[in-house]
């Protein structure tokens, strides 16, 4: 495992992928800061530096949570360039043919990818923190447990994406196919809460005015979902990372637990896929 890890780290640093990760993290931090300023606070970012009074911990947390919208796309590209290239360039063949256990190859790649994701989130969070700290009202922003929990929450979500995408790259072999599937999954997850909320918001019954009698008539809504199905949908909604962001909840233990489960299951599925895979 030590050699496999060393090999994965060597690739990360020597291929300059790591520099791209830092650039992406910094740009994402700045982009999210700009976007939250513009969309949430209706103010222009650059002129606001050093001027406005709105930047407090809530603003910082808002920015941190919005990282979840951007990082998965970066994670998909990273997994394509890191694990996908390993398989597409057949470099993984060299490891297998020289006796590195297949499972170790996957775990080394997954561990390096997850650590890179964690590092990337921390860089973005630090960039955001520094940007927010630029304003004169410095005492309103501080690193407290809520900020740390939010960073950890975002990191766990991003790591879940990274592990899942790493598993997809191992599963599909073709790195472009892997990244396309990954890219489709992200908007699907993003649109899921809106779609499910529409279903859950359907009224149990609806009324209309009968034109002949003039009376209000009540009818059961066939689109209403109740019972176990409603509970299941609500539960699945709570597991979706974008639901937590959408609802602006301070923390989302269920979602974090689901992300943890995705990490474990992706690791297990990836290990299984690589051990059964026939490499060309």
């Amino acid at each position: 495992m030590r050699f496999a890890l060393k090999s994965s780290f060597f690739r990360l640093f020597r291929t300059r992928l790591f520099i791209w990760v830092i650039v992406f993290s910094l740009l994402t931090g700045i982009g999210v800061f700009n976007s939250v300023c513009g969309n949430e606070m209706m103010m222009y970012t650059l002129p606001s530096l050093g001027r406005p009074r709105f930047f407090d911990n809530d603003f910082l947390i808002l920015c941190l949570k919005d990282l979840i919208y951007v990082f998965p796309f970066g994670a998909a590209v990273f997994c394509m360039m890191f694990t996908g290239s390993d398989i597409s360039f057949r470099a993984v063949n060299n490891k297998i043919a020289t006796g590195t256990p297949r499972v170790m190859i996957f775990f080394a790649d997954a561990a390096v990818a997850a650590l890179t994701a964690l590092f990337s989130v921390i860089v973005s969070a630090a960039a955001l923190f520094l940007l927010v700290k630029f304003v004169p009202v410095k005492e309103s922003v501080e690193i407290n447990s809520k900020v740390i929990l939010t960073v950890l929450f975002v990191a766990v979500i991003v790591m879940a994406f990274v592990l899942f995408f790493t598993m997809l790259q191992v599963f599909f072999s073709n790195k472009l196919f892997g990244v396309i599937i990954s890219m489709f999954l992200i908007p699907a997850l993003m649109s899921y809460p809106g779609h499910i909320n529409y279903i859950l918001d359907q009224p149990y019954r609806y009324s209309y005015k009968d034109e002949t009698s003039g009376e209000t008539v009540w009818e059961l809504n066939p689109e209403y979902v109740g019972g176990v199905e409603r509970n299941a949908l609500t539960f699945s909604l709570e597991l979706n990372p974008y639901y937590g962001v959408l609802m602006r909840e301070p923390g989302n233990a269920k979602c974090a637990a689901a992300a943890g489960a995705v990490i474990v299951l992706s690791a297990a599925a990836g290990a299984l896929a690589i051990s059964r895979k026939e490499f060309t």
Binding site: R11, T15, N94, G99
Partner: protein, 305 residues
């Protein structure tokens, strides 16, 4: 000579297609073992199984005496280098870094041998140029260098001269011969360019439709494919005693055809035939190549099946 790789009854099935059928093969230590076969004959699958990239459906193999079913096989594989189909190199890394990466994979901490390896494959001047910018020949040579990391005892090369220009082929041949002679590395090699393979290999295995048709040494093959004159005569039976008396090396190839391997002029051949009272109908030069030998072998097999 000990066998460094022994394959016993290996079969491989993909869905409904049987790619390998009870393949058994022994690869002698220090040999250059040429695997000859058509596209889809099962050469690459066999090499992928030996290198651990694929698992056999049934059967087993051993490398340096360690069975594929033994957990120790992973350690033995550290003494093996390979190129399967195309060189497995990182296009965004330099030649040096590709080799360093393989050294790390092998758990080696000293990289002192890398310049020597680059010199061996004539890539010592490639500098910081990434492998993606290399020509096909350079990539193939880099692939060989990667496979040679850690001084392996066995080198498995699947079509290493595919797509190379004539100069690249000569370069590759010289490198492989040097590796075999200087490092005593056993090389298992497959190639479509059979004439080129015949300049390298010390042993051959002919494979078709997933079955090994024949295995033989280069000397045995030379005996089989050596130059001969093909004689069509009125009676082979009457001619043979005369050839025997005159110590002429020959092989009866049918009721009216005989192949003569001894160096003998046409006029003397005709004179001997006259002596036996046999009429010579035609004389033709018969120079069978490795390619021809293989095609004959396949034709015989297809005729049987």
């Amino acid at each position: 000579m000990d066998n460094v790789v022994s394959i016993k009854d290996i079969s491989k099935v993909y869905g409904k297609a049987q790619v390998l059928r009870n393949v058994s093969l022994d690869i002698p230590n220090g040999s250059i073992f040429g695997l000859v076969g058509r596209n889809g004959a099962g050469k690459t699958t066999l090499m992928r199984i030996i290198t651990g990239l694929a698992e056999p459906t049934s059967g087993s193999y051993s490398i340096s005496g360690v069975s594929s079913k033994d957990k120790e096989i992973i350690k033995v594989r550290r003494r093996m280098g390979s190129i399967i189909e195309s060189p497995a190199v990182f296009r965004n890394l330099s030649a040096y870094d590709n080799l360093k990466l393989q050294y790390i994979n092998l758990g080696m901490t000293s990289y002192d041998d890398i310049p020597g390896l680059l010199e061996l494959v004539e890539l010592n001047n490639s500098g910081k140029k990434t492998a993606g910018k290399f020509s096909l020949g350079m990539k193939q040579r880099l692939g060989i260098a990667v496979a040679l990391c850690g001084k392996p005892d066995i080198l498995v090369l699947d079509e290493p001269i595919n797509g190379l220009d004539p100069q690249g082929i000569i370069q590759m041949r010289e490198i492989l011969i040097r590796i075999n002679r200087e490092r005593h590395t056993t090389i298992l090699i497959s190639s479509h360019i059979l004439e080129e393979l015949s300049k390298l290999a010390t042993h051959y295995a002919f494979i078709d439709n997933g079955e090994i048709l024949q295995t033989l040494s280069a000397d045995e093959l030379m005996n089989k494919v050596r130059k001969s004159s093909r004689l069509k005569v009125s009676s082979v039976e009457d001619l043979c005693p005369v050839f025997d008396r005159n110590d002429i090396d020959y092989k009866i190839n049918g009721e009216d055809t005989v192949d003569i391997y001894s160096e003998i002029s046409v006029s003397r051949t005709v004179a001997l035939a006259n002596e036996a009272g046999v009429e010579v109908i035609s004389v033709a030069e018969n120079n069978e190549s490795l390619e021809g030998y293989f095609m004959n072998l396949v034709a015989k097999r297809e005729g049987l099946s």
